[in-house]
Structure formats: structure tokens, C-alpha cells
Amino acid sequence: MKIKNITIQGFRGFNEERNIDFHDRLTLIYAPNSYGKTSISEAFEWLLYGITSKVEKADSKEEYKGSYRNCHLPESLTPFVKATFVDDNENETEFHGDLAEDETIQRFVNGQKVERWPLAQDISKVPRPFILQHALKYLLLVRPDERFQGFAHLLGLEKLDLFQRNVVSLCTKSDSCIPVEVNQLLKNVSTLETRLASQPSLATIEKAFKKGVTGLAETYEAVESECRQRVPPETEEESVRPRLLKIREDTVAKIFKGRIAPPSYSEEEKRVNVEDDKFFLNCITDPFVKKYTELLALVTVQHILERAEFFDLGIKLLDKIPEKCPFCGRSIDDALAKHIHDEHANLATEKKRNEELQNQRTEIIKLLAELKSRLDAYQTRHTDKAAQLLALEPTLDKLKTILVPKHQAHFNAVETTILELTTAKNNLETSYSKVLVALAKVETSVTESEEDAALVKVLGETLAEYISDARSYVRTVTGKVSAMSDADQILKHELDALAGTEDISVLIELLEQWRNVKKKFEIKGILDSLKDLRKSVDQYVANRVLEAISGELTSEVMEWYGQIKTTGDPDVHFDGFDIERTKKGELKARRVQIKAKSYGKDLVSAVSSLSESKLNVLGLCVSIATNLKGKSTFDFLIIDDPIQSWDAEHEIKFIEVIRRLVERGKQVILMSHNHKWIDMIRSGCRTTNGLFYEITGYTETGPHIAEIPWARWTERLKEIDAIVKDQTATSVKLQQAEEEIRIVNAELTSELYFKIKGIRKKPHDLNSTKVRKMLVECGVNSNLVDRITETFETTDDAHHAPVDYTANRQRIQCYHAWAHELAKLLKDSHEA
């Protein structure tokens, strides 16, 4: 798609609304520095992407906060940017972006609010159609990793780049992904390894252990051998460990009995706790309370049941003698009979409801029994958890003599844990007792048909309090697991040291933890293998990027670079892209190499060898090449001040590049602070017939933009004269002359209209209808009006020639003469 126009209000350097129309081939905008050129390219960037690249790349986003809104825009107005885009089929779409207060963009397509632009997916995949000075600096003169990122961005490989960075992050910072339980296992095995290393008598095992996963079988054999040496020879294989345990326990018990058992919950216990919590909470939710309170109705329906019995009997008797009352013999009319039957039917419904409530009562009794049973199990599960640890309380003094002063912190942890667990357990027991009392009252109320809504309310409150206390208890318990596990290990070691059973203890632990030892090696293997994964991903990504940069990108950039390359200065030039390699020839991760050559000899890097001017040229060529690759959604290219720091030769050569871009179908919008250079482009691209704007001033209201004719109509007429006179002019030249005649006629009409009516109309907006209307208004004779209008007949309103167009010298000569006639009329009107 191409851009037809843009309107900017209150955005960056623009305050009051300004509109700029664009030529479908080339539009030049001249402005001295700080007159709002860059605001135009930023307005486009923001409109398309919701952010400008300057803000996107800023180290501190804070510094750019509020920078989109022009500070002179009145509070009541909303900053906006809107642009009309034209697709290949000449369909126009208006993209309108309002700047919201939170600096986000509110999007509207043809006036309808949308979440994202149509083609948003395509837009995100293709290079951005902007060539910005600061972006070039970010591409080349940055750290290698940032350069890699810049190239990935340009080539549409951002997702691949992000993927690589994410994988590297995972592989280098995997510690944060290791679950607590796995970390605990690694820590335990590591402690065991340290203890093993401290036992000279077990050196054979240690040596094998150090071999890692390959020495596992050897380690186990050594463990078995050492164990055998410490038990009587006749000991059966399965009795070796119990025997060692007994030897150790007997020896250690002479010093201290008991252990600091870590009160952890197994996975199964955790699951059951969650299920019980859910069940308890269900018991205090509305459905249960409603079911219970409905039972109150059972009492009130008792008298109805008695009436129902009476009516049952009466109806049976009435069936035998329908017209008389079975009790008093009074005659019964139809109305009364109907009333009696209706009453009987209603009572039957009530009876049915009563039966349902009886069933409901049975259900509630069952539910309460289940609640009681699960509460008992739940309470036992929790209190048992800390029982062993709390049993240490009476022996704390003895424990202190073993652990303090060497392990004061661990002893303190044990003491504090016992204290906190005792408090948590007491709270739990108190709230449990309250639940039991409340539950018993509800049970009694149901079994004795004395339901009371207040009772179930109390049960609910006590249950909620109990669940809360239980959760708090679980948190206390689980929060102590690690510290108690450590303290337990320390106590064990100290006792072993005191009793001289360290080697036996290590052997027992090796046997007990053998599965964990194997798992440790497996886990370690997985974590170590992440290095290989990183390497694979690095190589894959490097290859993908290499494929993208070294082949076509290099040749395309070389081609454009060749266009701008100067010949007068030293032969130090860009020589293609590559990915840096290791000495072994492997691709280095995230290292784009920009090669350079000097008089045929390779240089280390273009970045360090090329002048700033040449680096700018190179950056520009990279942007152009990536923008021209394949079919892009965008058929336009916005180039913002490309020639800063260039020398005159580069400036001239770049004009040819612009011409080639236009010839390749790109709509080029070029901005520059260099008036002379802009004039050179207009002259160099004379036949392109673009649009030229000058930003002539800048005030609080924003830039003052004036459209300047691309070429004076007098110059154009001279050129047409030359073509018409040239008998060898090709049909292409003749077509060009015919097009020029139309432009001249539009410009003449515009000037005449301004002269006579005082209103300025843009020549490039005029078609045959508008020209006719304006000439008639100016009082031009109808004959000339008809002829001038005829010159527009070989094109449509969008100035496109029909498919079957052929240049006709005779016709063009006529058109040429008529244009001169109109020019004379304008000249005469000036003189008059």
C-alpha cells in the first residue's frame, strides 16, 4: 500500500492540524533542523506501530513520558494522526490514531474503532518502511549482541532472536526453575558427599563416587564391601542395613535418644488436605444451610398430616355416598364437593413435600457423620505431624549440651520451632474443640427435630475458624521442614562424632539414599545438558541468520552500496556480512560480522575501518535492501535526513538511488535539511513529477508547510516544445510530454483561478471535471475550456493512462498548442 496523505494534530512538533498530501512516486520535504521533519516520520511510526523507534530503543522510557503530546495543544483537544493508505486496487483506507491519556493509541479504521490494524499480522512480519538516522546508528555502532538484534529486527527475525535469548536465559539461569523438593534432594546428596569425603576409612567409595554417573556401579560395590566389614560375617544381605542401624542406634543412644524429625507432609497428605478443606467449606456454604433450615418446615407440617389423615378417610367415604357428608349426613352440593377434593389434593402435595424433607434429614445426618469422621482424621493427621518433634521438648537441655555452642543457631531453631508448633497446635486443638461442640449441637437438633438456624450458623463460623487455624498450622509446619532437616543432620553428625559411628552412619545413609544418589546424577545430567541445548539453539539461530545475511542481503546491500560508493577517496569499503566463527570454524552466537576490504586486503571489521560517512551509507543500504526484499505490505519508504555527515560525492550518488527506488515502484518520501540537495534531487528526478514541500517557518502553532511547484510550468512547456519538435522522440517520450501537458494545464488553471478568484487550489488534485469548472468560473471561453478539458481524456481521475493507450504525435501537438493558448491567457491576465 502507498500513502495518499497524512493529517497531524498535537503530535510531537505539530500543534494545529496540518495536512500533507503525498505524490504516489516521490515527495520531498525540506526543512531546516528542528522545524518538524522528524515529527512527520515519527507520526507515521506511531500510527502504524503505536510507538516510535526512538522511544522503543530508549534506555529510560521515563524520560520520554508525555513526549508524544505537543505541549501547546489546548487541553480540550486530542492529539491524533491519520493517514489515508491506497492499495494496489486504488481502494482507500483511513487509519486514524488518537493519543489516549495513558499514551496508548486508540485505533479507528474508516471511522470504526478497532483493536488492531487490518493486516496487523503482515505489518509485524515485514521490515519497517522507515530509514531513520538514529536507527542506522543503532544498527552498526553498537555492541555485537545489539547489532545482531538490530539485524534480526531488520530481517523480520525478531521472534527467532527473542527465542534464542529466552533459551539462553533458561540454560544459564536454570536454578530458579528447580523445584524446592529437587533442590532439597541435591542438597542432601551433596551433604552426604561431603561427609563421605571426611571419612578416610571410606576412601574407596569416595573415589568411585567422584566418577559420577559412570562410577555408580563401582560405588555401590564399594559401599556393600565396606558394610560387610562392619557386620558379623553370617549376616544375610537384606539384614545388613538393619544390623548397621542397630549398631549405630545402640552406640548413639548411650549419649542421646530421639531425633529432630522434620514434620513434612507427603504429596498424598497434601492432596487429602486440599480435598478435606474443600469438603469442609462445602458444609458451610448456602446449599447445606438451606437444606438444614428447610427441615424447620417439618415441625410446621405436623398438623397438616393430621388433617390429611382426616381428609383421606372423608374422601373414601364420600366415594361411596358422594352427595352426603359422611360425618353429619348434610347434603353436599357440587361446589362443596370440589372444594373438599381440592383441599385433599393440596394436602397430598404437602404430604409428599413432608416425605422429601424426611429424606433430606437422613441425608443431612449422613453428611454430619461424614463431617465428623473427616474432621477426626484431619485433626489427627495434623497433630501427628509435629508429635515426634514436640516430644523432644523435655530433652531440650540435653540437646543443648550436644549442639551448643558449636551449633547454637540450629539449637535456637529447634527451640523456636517447638515453641511455635506448640502454639499452632494449641490453637488448632482449641478451634477443633469448638467445631466438635457446634457439630454435636447440630447433630442433636436434627435427630431430635429441633432444627435451629442459629446452630448451623455457629457450626459454619467455627468450621471457618478451624480451617483457617489448620492452614496457619500447615504453613508453620512446612516452613520449618528445611531448618529442622538441617538441624537433624547436624545432631546426627554430632552424635556420630561423639559415639565414633560416623563411618557407619555414612554407610547407612548411602544405602538409604542410594536411589536419591542415582537421581542426583540424573538431575545433574539434565541440568548439565542444557549447555548442549544452548549450543544447538545458538548454532541453529546463527545458521538461520547467516542464511539471511550472507546470501542475498550481502549481494543486495553490495549493489546499493555500489551505487553510492565514491571512487575518489581511499579504497576502504564494505565487503559483505558474515557470522563470526570460532577457531574450530563453528559459528559464534549472536555475532554479525561486517566485513571490509582495503585495496583487496581483508580488514578486521567495517565498523572499525570505515569512515562515519561510509558507515552511514552502509547503514542506509542495509535498510534499503531489507525494505526491498520480497513482497512487502508497504510500497512506500520514508527516508529521514539520510545525508548527514556525507560528502558532496556521496550526496550526488544518492540521487541515483532515489531514482532507482522510484523506478522499482517504491513511493519515496524524503526529508532533508539540505535545500541545495533537495533542489538537486528535483532536478535529477525532473521527469518523476513529485511533490515538494518547504517548511518555511515554525511557531507555537507548529510547522508552516508550503507546497512548491516541482518545476515551473514555463520550464515544462519548454521541455514539451523540445519533445514535440523532435521527430525521433520515442513513444515513451511522447507519453511523457502528454503527461507534462496535463500537469501544465492543471498548474495554469490553478494559477488563473488564484489570480481571478483569489482561491488557491492544489494542481495535483485537479482532474478534467475540476479544471472545466474552474475555467468556466474564471470566464474562459467555452471553446478553450472544451479543448483544455480534452487533454485530460486519455487518463482517469487518478492520472493513469488506460491499458490500450498509445502515444499520438498529432494529438499531442494539438494539446501542446492548447496549453500555450491557456498560458497566454494567464500571461495576459497578469498584464491586465
Binding site: 515485514v126 545438558s529 541445548l533
Partner: protein, 60 residues
């Protein structure tokens, strides 16, 4: 050239498929597969945690 550009702008799914075809280690394959999730980083990290927990909880 158009084909090349298409491959350069290939979707995440395409390059993940390509990379997976190059990997032989099942654990690595699982981690890369996890990158297809809605929150790729979180999904990959939790997959690693899951793999390690599987080793931990495996009954030999």
C-alpha cells in the same frame, strides 16, 4: 527471492519444527516444544521443573 523471504519471516511454529528435527535429546525436545505455549518463557521454565520432578518422583 520471495521464497527466501517467506522462510526468513517464517512463523515461530516453523522454526521450532525445524529446530526440533535437529535435536535428538528427548529432554531438549520437550523444552523446545514447551516454547509453543501462550507464555513461552514461563511454559519452558515450568516444563524444566516438571522434567526434574518426574525424575524425583519416579519409582525405580
Amino acid at each position: 527471492m520471495n521464497n527466501k523471504v517467506t522462510s526468513q519471516h517464517s512463523s515461530r511454529e516453523e522454526y521450532l519444527d525445524e529446530l526440533l528435527a535437529e535435536l535428538s535429546e528427548p529432554v531438549h525436545k520437550r523444552l523446545i516444544q514447551a516454547y509453543r505455549g501462550n507464555d513461552p518463557v514461563q511454559s519452558m521454565e515450568s516444563e524444566l521443573g516438571k522434567i526434574l520432578m518426574e525424575v524425583l518422583n519416579r519409582e525405580d
